[in-house]
C-alpha cells in the first residue's frame, strides 16, 4: 500500500495544456500514473498527451466523464485558488497544488471551503507525492525512487529529492514521499500526513524533513510522541545557520519573534524520541540504526 497516490489513483491535471502542466503530465504518465483527464477552460474537446487524455472545460465535466478522484494543479498563481475551489466543488477529495507564489490571504479564504467539503489539499507550492512503483503526482523526479517501506514527508522540494536519492542509494525504499510545501499557509500539515502513514500498514519507518519558521515541526514531534510511539523516525531541519528575521527563500522559512529556530525544532524532535540528522546523507544510517533493513 501507500498513501495519497497509488495504482488506483484516477488523476485529473488542471492546467494540462500549459507549459508546466504539459511537461509534468507527460512525466507522470511515463512513470505509470493513471491520468484520466485534463482541464483547461476553453479547451474542452481537445486531447493531451498524444491523444491519450481528454481535455475538459471544467472539473465538473471531467469528473462526470472520467470519474477522476485526485487532482493536481499547474495553474498560474492568479488562477490557482479558483482551481482548488473548482476541484473541491466538483467533488475531488485529494488535491495537489504545485503552483507557487499564491498570496497567503487567498489561501486563508480557500481553506475553509476545502475543509468544509472534507477534502484534502496538499500544497500549494509543493512538489507533490510519489508512491514508488505505483504513481507519482507532482514534479518529484521519478528516477530517484525505490519501492519500500519508509514514508517521507517534507516542507521542501529539491531537499526532498536529495534525501530520497540518499535513501535509494543506500538501498532503502520508500512507501510514499510527500512534499507539503514551504508556504506559510498550506493545506496539509506534517501531522495530517503522519496520520495517513500511521494507517498505512506498509509504512514501517518515517523521515520528516523540516525547516526553520513556524512551529509545524514542534507540533509534529508532540503528535508523534503521542500517536506513533513505536515507529522509527528520523528528521532533518534545514536552516540551522540561517540568521533571524530574513526570509530564506520560502515565504514560510523565517525565524521571527524568537520562534521558528532550528534549535527549538531539533530540541522538540529529540525530546519526542526522534533522531535528528546533521546532514541528509546521515539519514540512511540513522534509519538503519533504528532497525530499517536495506534491500
Amino acid at each position: 500500500m501507500s498513501i495519497l497516490v497509488g495504482r488506483d489513483t484516477r488523476l485529473l491535471v488542471q492546467g494540462i495544456t500549459g507549459r508546466e502542466g504539459a511537461f509534468h503530465a507527460q512525466q507522470m504518465q511515463a512513470y505509470g500514473t493513471n491520468i484520466v483527464a485534463g482541464v483547461t477552460p476553453g479547451k474542452g474537446g481537445q486531447t493531451a498527451l498524444d491523444g491519450s487524455v481528454p481535455v475538459f472545460d471544467s472539473c465538473w465535466r471531467a469528473i462526470q466523464e472520467t470519474q477522476a478522484d485526485t487532482s493536481v494543479i499547474y495553474v498560474p498563481a492568479a488562477g490557482a485558488p479558483d482551481a482548488i475551489l473548482e476541484a473541491v466543488g466538483a467533488g475531488i477529495r485529494t488535491i495537489f497544488c504545485i503552483t507557487e507564489h499564491i498570496p497567503a490571504l487567498d489561501m486563508l479564504r480557500v481553506m475553509p471551503v476545502v475543509e468544509a467539503a472534507g477534502a484534502r489539499l496538499i500544497g500549494p507550492n509543493c512538489p507533490g507525492a510519489t508512491s514508488p512503483g505505483r504513481a507519482k503526482v507532482g514534479i518529484i523526479p521519478g528516477s530517484i525512487h525505490r519501492e519500500g517501506n519508509v514514508g517521507l514527508v517534507s516542507r521542501s522540494g529539491t531537499l526532498t529529492y536529495e534525501v530520497v536519492l540518499a535513501l535509494t542509494e543506500a538501498g532503502i525504499g520508500q512507501s510514499t514521499c510527500v512534499g507539503i510545501g514551504g508556504d506559510p499557509v498550506i493545506g496539509s500539515t506534517f501531522i495530517d500526513i503522519l496520520e495517513l502513514f500511521r494507517d498505512d500498514p506498509e509504512t514501517e519507518a518515517l523521515v520528516l524533513m523540516g525547516e526553520i519558521g513556524g512551529n509545524a515541526e514542534e507540533s509534529a514531534a508532540r503528535w508523534k510522541a503521542e500517536h506513533l510511539r513505536d515507529t522509527p523516525m528520523v528528521a532533518f531541519i534545514a536552516g540551522r545557520t540561517a540568521p533571524p528575521g530574513r526570509r530564506m527563500g520560502h515565504a514560510g522559512a523565517i525565524i521571527s519573534g524568537g520562534s521558528g529556530s532550528a534549535a527549538d525544532k531539533i530540541a522538540a524532535l529529540e525530546g519526542a524520541g526522534i533522531r535528528v540528522a546533521d546532514a541528509p546523507s546521515e539519514i540512511p544510517r540513522l534509519l538503519m540504526e533504528a532497525g530499517v533493513r536495506p534491500a
Binding site: P103, P112, S154, T158, L165, P184, E211, T241, R247
Partner: protein, 394 residues
C-alpha cells in the same frame, strides 16, 4: 516586504484610520521646515523619528522630541546618518508630539498555524509585544478574525473592552476593523499600531477632548501579492537595499548576503539552507543564501554568479543543483558562460545531479576550471578546502 512607518501610516489613513499629520525629511533643514509648520499650527513639541526597517530605533537614540525649530534641526542632524543595527538612517519622520493619556497595543497578523488572521491587543502599549507576552501572557487578548467575514463587530467590541477603551467604543471598533481592512486592501502579513493612544487635544472652543490616534504603524506586505498592488511596489525602500538585492529580485533569485567566504548557488530554498548548514558543519563559512529557483536557465545562472562575485569576500563557489525541473546541461552551460566572463578567478566546485547530469558533467569537464563533485558532502568538503587555498594569481 517591509515598508517604512510613514508609508504604513499612509496605508492606515487610506482606510480612514485616525493618524495624526506627519512629514518625511531627508535633510535636517527639511526637518526644521516641517517642524516649523507643526509649531505654527499649534504643536507644543515635535517628535523626530529615524525611518529604518529594523527594530529598536528608540533604544538606539533614533526617536527624539524637540521644543522648537532650532532644536528640531539639531535633533534631525543627529539622527540622520546614524547607524541603527547596521542600517544608515537616511530619512526622518517629523510629527507633532501627542499629549498621550494612555497607550495600548493593537495588531493583526497572519497566523499560519490557525490559517486565520489573528488580532492581538494589550491594554499596555508602547512596548514590544514579544516582551509583553514573555512577561505576562494574560496581558494579551487574542482573537481570530473570521476567514471570510473578517473581524466581526462583536469581536471588535470585545477587543475594545479588553483594551479598556469602553469610553471610545465606536472609535476603537472602527480602528480594529480598519486594521483588518488595511490588511485585506494591501495583502499585508502584519498591521501593527503601537501605540494606539488616547490623546488629549484642544477642541475648537478651547476645551480639551480625548480621542484615539494611531501614533506609530508597522505594516509588512506579502511578496506573493505585490503584483496585484502596483502602487505598493513603489514603497520598497531602495535606500536600504543593497544593489545586489535589487538585481536578485529582478532575476527572481532569493539572495541573502551573509558574513562568510563561500558563495553558494543552489536550486530550492530547503536545499539552499541545508547546503549552508553543511558548509558551516564542515568548518566553512557561507557567504550567502542563494536559491536560484525552479527551471534554472543559463542567463539566471550567470546572474546568480554575478551576485555571488559582487561580494569581495568570496573565496570559493559551491554550486549544488538537483535537477528535477531544472535541466543539468542548461545549468552547466550557464556556469561555463559565467566562468568565461568572470572578472576574478575564484575556485568553483559543482555538483549537479538529476536530469541530464551526465551531459552537464561533460560540458563542464570540456570547459575546465570547474571542480566536479560526486555528492553533496563531497562538494561541501571540496568547497571548504578551496576557500582555504591561497588565491591563484590571475
Amino acid at each position: 516586504m517591509k515598508i517604512q512607518e510613514a508609508d504604513a501610516k499612509s496605508l492606515l489613513a487610506a482606510q480612514g484610520l485616525p493618524v495624526p499629520p506627519w512629514a518625511v525629511a531627508r535633510t535636517a533643514s527639511d526637518a526644521r521646515a516641517s517642524a516649523e509648520r507643526f509649531f505654527a499650527s499649534g504643536a507644543d513639541k515635535v517628535v523626530i523619528k529615524a525611518q529604518v526597517l529594523v527594530g529598536g530605533r528608540g533604544k538606539a537614540g533614533g526617536v527624539k522630541l524637540a521644543s522648537d525649530a532650532a532644536e528640531a534641526e539639531q535633533v534631525a542632524t543627529a539622527i540622520l546618518g546614524m547607524d541603527i543595527s547596521g542600517i544608515t538612517v537616511r530619512k526622518v519622520l517629523v510629527a507633532p508630539a501627542a499629549d498621550i493619556v494612555r497607550e495600548v497595543y493593537l495588531a493583526c497578523v497572519l497566523d499560519r498555524g490557525a490559517r486565520r488572521v489573528l488580532f492581538m491587543g494589550a491594554a499596555q502599549g508602547g512596548v514590544e509585544i514579544e516582551a509583553l507576552a514573555a512577561e505576562d501572557e494574560e496581558a494579551i487578548t487574542y482573537i481570530h478574525a473570521h476567514p471570510h467575514l473578517g473581524l466581526l463587530d462583536y469581536q471588535a467590541r470585545l477587543l475594545s473592552f479588553e483594551l479598556g477603551l469602553e469610553a471610545h467604543l465606536k472609535e476603537a471598533v472602527a480602528i480594529a476593523k480598519g486594521l483588518y481592512a488595511t490588511m485585506i486592501a494591501n495583502d499585508a502579513d502584519l498591521v501593527e499600531v503601537n501605540p494606539l493612544a488616547i490623546v488629549r487635544e484642544r477642541g475648537a472652543d478651547g476645551s480639551s477632548v480625548e480621542l484615539l490616534q494611531c501614533l506609530d504603524a508597522k505594516v509588512t506586505l506579502d511578496d506573493s501579492a505585490l503584483h496585484r498592488h502596483p502602487g505598493l511596489e513603489e514603497l520598497r525602500d531602495l535606500d536600504e537595499e543593497d544593489p545586489v538585492d535589487i538585481e536578485a529580485r529582478q532575476q527572481g533569485i532569493s539572495f541573502i548576503r551573509l558574513e562568510g567566504d563561500i558563495g553558494c548557488m543552489v536550486n530550492g530554498a530547503g536545499l539552499a539552507m541545508a547546503t549552508m548548514d553543511l558548509v558551516k558543519r564542515a568548518g566553512g563559512q557561507p557567504a550567502n543564501f542563494l536559491d536560484i529557483g525552479g527551471g534554472a536557465r543559463a542567463d539566471k545562472v550567470a546572474a546568480a554568479m554575478r551576485l555571488i562575485l559582487a561580494d569581495p569576500s568570496v573565496r570559493a563557489i559551491l554550486v549544488n543543483i538537483f535537477g528535477g525541473i531544472a535541466r543539468g546541461d542548461e545549468v552547466a552551460r550557464g556556469l561555463v558562460e559565467a566562468r568565461a566572463q568572470q572578472s576574478r578567478s575564484v575556485p568553483m566546485v559543482v555538483r549537479i545531479v538529476g536530469t541530464n547530469a551526465e551531459l552537464a558533467a561533460e560540458i563542464m569537464s570540456a570547459s575546465g576550471g570547474i571542480e566536479l563533485a560526486t555528492s553533496l558532502d563531497d562538494a561541501v568538503e571540496r568547497a571548504v578546502a578551496a576557500s582555504r587555498r591561497e588565491p591563484a594569481s590571475t
